[in-house]
């Protein structure tokens, strides 16, 4: 078996494992031990991979990042925080949606919950996939 073929099979196996995990993770009821375990384990794996001594980011910056260039993002994050807190502490609660209540509504079906879980796992993989690898 060639190296490329072996890598392709590994990727396919990882994707299948992630899909199966996401299916079970999205199918259990909230506030239960299975839900805790199925969400805790991927988090622990990502954390361990991040804490490895070799887990450095070897990517040279294309251009230097000025601190002022991040200010618009900080401003937007501040606006989101203010709006979220305003809604959270407004009464009646049912008349003021929060990001949490909106996401609950979006993730209320098995399919959307599965897709959401898959996206969450994909983001976790993206946090560690380039650690320790040297880029040219």
């Amino acid at each position: 078996m060639t190296r490329v073929r072996r890598r392709q099979l590994l990727i396919a196996a990882a994707l299948l494992a992630a899909a199966i995990w996401a299916w079970f993770g999205s199918g259990v009821r909230t506030f239960t031990r299975p839900a805790e375990v199925l969400t805790f384990v991927p988090g622990l794996v990502v954390l361990v991979l991040t804490l490895r001594p070799s887990a450095e980011l070897h990517r040279p910056p294309k251009t230097a990042l000025r601190r002022t260039s991040a200010l618009p993002w900080v401003g937007l994050a501040g606006l989101i925080l203010v709006w979220e807190l305003t809604e959270l502490f407004s009464q009646p609660r049912a008349g003021h949606p929060t990001m949490s209540s909106i996401s609950n509504a979006l993730l209320s079906t098995r399919v959307t919950r599965f897709l959401g879980y898959l996206v969450w796992l994909a983001v976790g993989w993206m946090l560690v996939r380039d650690l320790g690898r040297r880029h040219e």
Binding site: G25, T30, F31, T39, V46, L47, T50, L65, H96, L127
Partner: protein, 66 residues
């Protein structure tokens, strides 16, 4: 307009602002950092990488456990 509709409209507006900022950051010569550059900058430090992991973990916990 009900208070619920106002709440949702607020989030929609914030989403529009987010997309506008992304578009602005991708223009030639833009002085606004791209989201990817920002994340890369955070991930350069060990503390930043760990903080992002916990933030991601918390989101998953909040969405799928609690």
């Amino acid at each position: 307009m009900s208070s619920y509709a106002v709440g949702v409209a607020g989030y929609v507006l914030l989403l529009v602002l987010l997309f506008a900022l992304i578009a602005l950051s991708h223009r030639d010569g833009s002085r606004v950092a791209r989201g990817g550059q920002l994340l890369l900058s955070i991930r350069r430090s060990r503390f930043g990488r760990i903080a992002l992991v916990f933030a991601w973990w918390w989101v998953g916990w909040h969405l799928f456990v609690r």
